[in-house]
Amino acid sequence: MRKLLNTLYITAPDSYLARDGENVVVRKEDQIAFRIPIHNLESIIMFGYAGASPSFMHLCMERGVSVSFLQENGKYLGSVVGNVKGNVLLRRRQYRMADGPEAVTLASRFVFAKIANSRTVLRRALRDHEESIMSENVVRSSDFLKRYMRRVLASATLDDVRGVEGDAARRYFSSFNELILTDKEHFCMRGRNRRPPLDRVNAMLSFLYALLRTDVQSALETVGLDPAVGFLHRDRPGRQSLALDLMEELRGYMVDRLVLSLINRKQINPKDFLFKENGAVLLKPDLKKELIASWQKRKHEEIRHPFLKEKIALGLLPYAQALLLARYIRGDLDDYPPFLWK
């Protein structure tokens, strides 16, 4: 497995990225604010209106470093990546599978793992905080999710899979609030909402899902799959459906749990949020920095991959799953092994 390299985050709207030799140079008001050799980087993520020179983008494309543009609130806009790796035969198989019966199988694997990992979030919380959680409702949700896991594997059509996924997600998020143990008055969540997120918890979830998404998308591009053609999510212009598919199994483990522990460890100040007239909740710059820092730290934690039986940095999980997916599509694996957190 390759090494996890670093990610450079730019939130300064007045900064400009340029190339100098093999270096990425960040300029602010015509002064060099930062300089780093490109080979230390895995990706660059820009929030807001940071500018970038074409030769800087050339350098990133040549070296396979992805440059992602996000809106200030974290909404994903797009990426610059080099020539797609892998070969056209792999992508053609991917397209055929997306139209064939394997689509249902793959979609059910993604959703199965999503539900299983969501359930583990609930079970873990129950185990760790038995005394403080109103456990009855959470236990009931966990039982429901178990039933959904069986149902999704028995689904015969994509619509069935999507139906089960929706029910399971609603059930899961309806109990999510009970996993928040401190400052319940400020961190109160009534189900999942987005575009815009309407409470603090949803705002943090959305922001971190956007970061996860850039990782999943560049992982898919690295192994040569087309992020736009998915199995669970329908094709739609501009939608990176496969990236959304592959994210499903990683959300609970990589993001939900992080948000919960940040809140429960009181690392989040409830005043670091902005409330708009339309109900939207936004993150203040300090909080964004805090979330990015925790995210980066978490990505460098080591885990043992349950299928590859190898120690990897958590941040390489999207890459490992993309690799397994490519192997399945290529025909080297009989079934796709989604990531299941035990």
Binding site: K3, N6, T7, L8, Y9, I10, T11, A12, S15, G21, E22, N23, V26, K28, A33, F34, R35, I36, P37, H39, N40, L41, P285, K289, I292, A293, Q296, K297, H300
Partner: protein
């Protein structure tokens, strides 16, 4: 792994000054300038070989010298910084605000 590179290039002649500039430029492509002729480079073994080859082609071994200090992957325990010229940790949080 982290490699610390230091050099002395004789600058009495125009050719020497040119060599100095070249050496600095190559080091900068692979790492961070921490003091005037001192660079910290976070590289993998292949990148290190490449850098070494380029540097050793550039210098004049009868006049200049190069020193490599291998700090390995646990380099953070082996480096302490005091005073001006703040540096960054290439494995830490890279955040420009």
């Amino acid at each position: 792994m982290m490699v610390l590179i230091t050099y002395d290039v004789e600058t009495a002649t125009a050719a020497g000054k040119r060599r100095l500039r070249q050496v600095a430029k190559h080091c900068l492509n692979y790492g961070q300038r921490v003091q005037n002729s001192v660079f910290e480079c976070l590289v993998d073994p292949v990148q290190f070989k490449q850098l070494k080859a380029t540097l050793e082609k550039t210098i004049d071994p009868s006049k200049d010298s190069l020193r490599y200090y291998m700090l390995g992957s646990n380099w953070k325990n082996r480096v302490e910084h005091v005073g001006a010229k703040e540096t960054y940790d290439p494995e830490g949080l890279l955040f420009i605000e």
